[in-house]
């Protein structure tokens, strides 16, 4: 049993971390809230006074708002579908007995460690460039007209780049989950003559449901705020302006801090809705 002495010591040891995170959360958050109610243009007169809910209304009614929400949802949704579906298949494949499993794992996981600016630039120039990119060569080889990927199929290209970065994450987590599956259960099903598809839908998929949920929630939080990939590829043009990128432009490019802060509050609310679900799952796990 913990003594009174060790309890107060414990509280003291926790204090620095708790205090720092409290400051980190409260100070910028309250500043954003404050700015969102001000007419604040640093380069055009500074703080011009109280604005009420003007910024909130203007942000939502601007012509860029709904497209940016759609873009955000499309990227997040697209990447989630690609990474989860391919991730499940890949995890099952990697779980099979084979030669050189360790090396294949290393190959598959590698994209996760590539910094976002590098992967975006490599894809943009060396693969998707309409003149010198590898895809252009491939298209020409098959007699097709090369595609200017990032302008003609901007969303698909972006989804592909981001999926490439996140597929290893999904695969690795799903593989970890598959490996904890009781192999006797699968063997029994196999002996009873259950075909592979039935085994997949009735045993493997239910077993993976929790891991899939975790993958979806964690990726959503990261994907809602992807930035570097857009920053170095399209700069938000060709219909790739996400909510994050729109706020970034409002705040730093057009220096309309009031408006951008109102957008920031919307982004925070959106992220918190997702976070709520994630916390439930993680919290349940703490009790177990």
């Amino acid at each position: 049993m913990a003594t009174q002495h060790s309890r107060s010591a414990a509280r003291l040891m926790m204090a620095p971390a708790v205090f720092l995170l409290l400051v980190w959360m409260l100070v910028p958050l309250s500043m954003t809230l404050w700015f969102s109610f001000r007419k604040y243009l640093p380069l055009r007169g500074g703080d011009l006074g109280w604005a009420g809910f003007d910024n909130y209304v203007r942000f939502v009614t601007s012509s860029a708002f709904w497209p940016s929400v759609m873009t955000t949802l499309l990227i997040v949704g697209g990447v989630l579908v690609v990474t989860v579906v391919l991730g499940v298949l890949l995890a099952i494949l990697l779980d099979q007995p084979m030669w050189g499993q360790g090396v294949v794992r290393i190959l598959v996981i590698a994209p996760f460690f590539v910094m976002p600016t590098v992967s975006a630039l490599v894809w943009k120039n060396m693969f998707m460039d309409p003149v010198n990119g590898l895809f252009a060569h491939l298209w020409k080889f098959f007699g097709a007209e090369p595609i200017s990927w990032l302008s003609e199929a901007s969303m698909q290209s972006l989804i592909m780049i981001v999926s490439w970065q996140w597929l290893p994450f999904a695969t690795l987590i799903l593989l970890t989950a598959i490996q904890s599956l009781d192999s006797e259960q699968l063997e029994a099903a196999e002996m009873d003559g259950a075909p592979p598809l039935a085994r997949f839908f009735h045993i493997i998929l239910p077993h993976l449901s929790r891991a899939i949920t975790v993958v979806i929630l964690i990726q959503t939080i990261f994907l809602l705020s992807i930035f570097a990939e857009i920053f170095v590829t399209t700069q938000g043009s060709f219909g790739t302006k996400t909510l994050t990128y729109l706020i970034f432009q409002r705040v730093l490019e057009s220096q309309n801090v009031g408006l951008g802060s109102a957008g920031g509050v919307y982004a925070i609310i959106l992220a918190n809705i997702v976070a709520l679900f994630l916390m439930r799952i993680v919290g349940k796990n703490l009790d177990a």
């Binding site: 971390a17 099979q96 996760f112 460690f113 590539v114 010198n132 703490l286």
Partner: protein, 276 residues
């Protein structure tokens, strides 16, 4: 009894898995190959794969023209500094939550996690403004502190899940034998916790190394790490594929190698212990 697997089936699995693995790895492989080509060979039509005149010239040019070492050093300081600082602050917190849990421990842990969910763009201007006021814009100290705060929840969580696996009976036994709190931590806990601490540090160096929101928005020339160094290649220099590739390889090589060593810890760290 283990499932009997025919050699034939194993061969099919192997072929398929290697094909998929190489396909996924291909962009990295292609970048590595291109970095050893001349600019002309890099854009040659049809593309050349292995049979070109291998050259190291691009690496020399990149280093010379853009002072690669300075960016590398910034990355090392920022990623290493923020991780070490974060670990020093997180160890006592995680220790106390794992071994002296109270009713509120769970709430505190979840609250810490929730700070991680705060979208960076939502607080971009306040941080930008505070950085100007503090004179931290384009300084390494500023980024060390911001990245430390961003990763602190992950560090606390990872350490907590590792510490929780250390059996409490051992600590009780040490206490019975009259060990003080300090001795308990120093001689009993630390040796058992070292592997967990090491993998926590490894994963967080990787995360900090690749962080590309704050490093792009809060640096200019002086404190810019490799993420910003590469972003500067986005136009017109990006047209020089061989040099872009050499720069990319230099930016990702150190972390790729570290990453391969940390792949087992990755799952635990990034799912906050929800999947082990």
């Amino acid at each position: 009894m283990a499932r009997a697997v025919t050699t034939q089936r194993k061969a099919i699995n192997t072929t398929l898995a290697w094909a998929v693995g190489l396909l996924i790895f291909f962009p990295i492989l292609w970048t590595i190959l291109t970095s050893f080509k001349t600019e002309a060979q890099a854009i040659s039509d049809p593309p050349v794969f292995l049979f070109f005149d291998w050259t190291l010239e691009n690496y020399a040019v990149v280093q010379e023209r853009s002072d690669y070492m300075r960016f590398l050093w910034n990355s090392v300081i920022i990623a290493g500094g923020s991780t070490i600082l974060g670990t020093i602050i997180a160890i006592p917190a995680a220790w106390s939550m794992a071994f002296v849990p109270s009713r509120r421990t769970k709430d505190i842990l979840l609250w810490m996690l929730s700070t991680k969910m705060l979208p960076a763009v939502g607080v971009l201007y306040p941080i930008y403004l505070l950085f100007i006021k503090l004179g931290w814009l384009d300084s390494r100290i500023g980024l060390v502190i911001v990245l430390m705060l961003i990763n602190l929840p992950i560090i606390v969580w990872m350490l907590y899940t590792y510490f929780r696996e250390i059996p409490g009976e051992i600590l009780e036994a040490a206490r019975m034998d009259g060990a003080s709190l300090r001795e308990e931590i120093l001689y009993v806990l630390t040796p058992m916790a070292v592997p967990g601490i090491a993998s926590t540090i490894l994963l967080n160096i990787i995360l900090a190394w690749n962080e590309a929101f704050w490093t792009l928005n809060l640096t200019a020339a002086k404190a810019a790490p490799l993420t910003a160094f590469i972003a500067s290649y986005s136009s017109p220099e990006g047209l020089f594929y061989a040099k872009l590739s050499a720069a990319s390889v230099m930016a990702i090589a150190p972390i790729l190698i570290m990453g391969w060593f940390s792949q087992k810890q990755l799952v635990r760290g990034l799912t906050f212990g929800a999947v082990k």
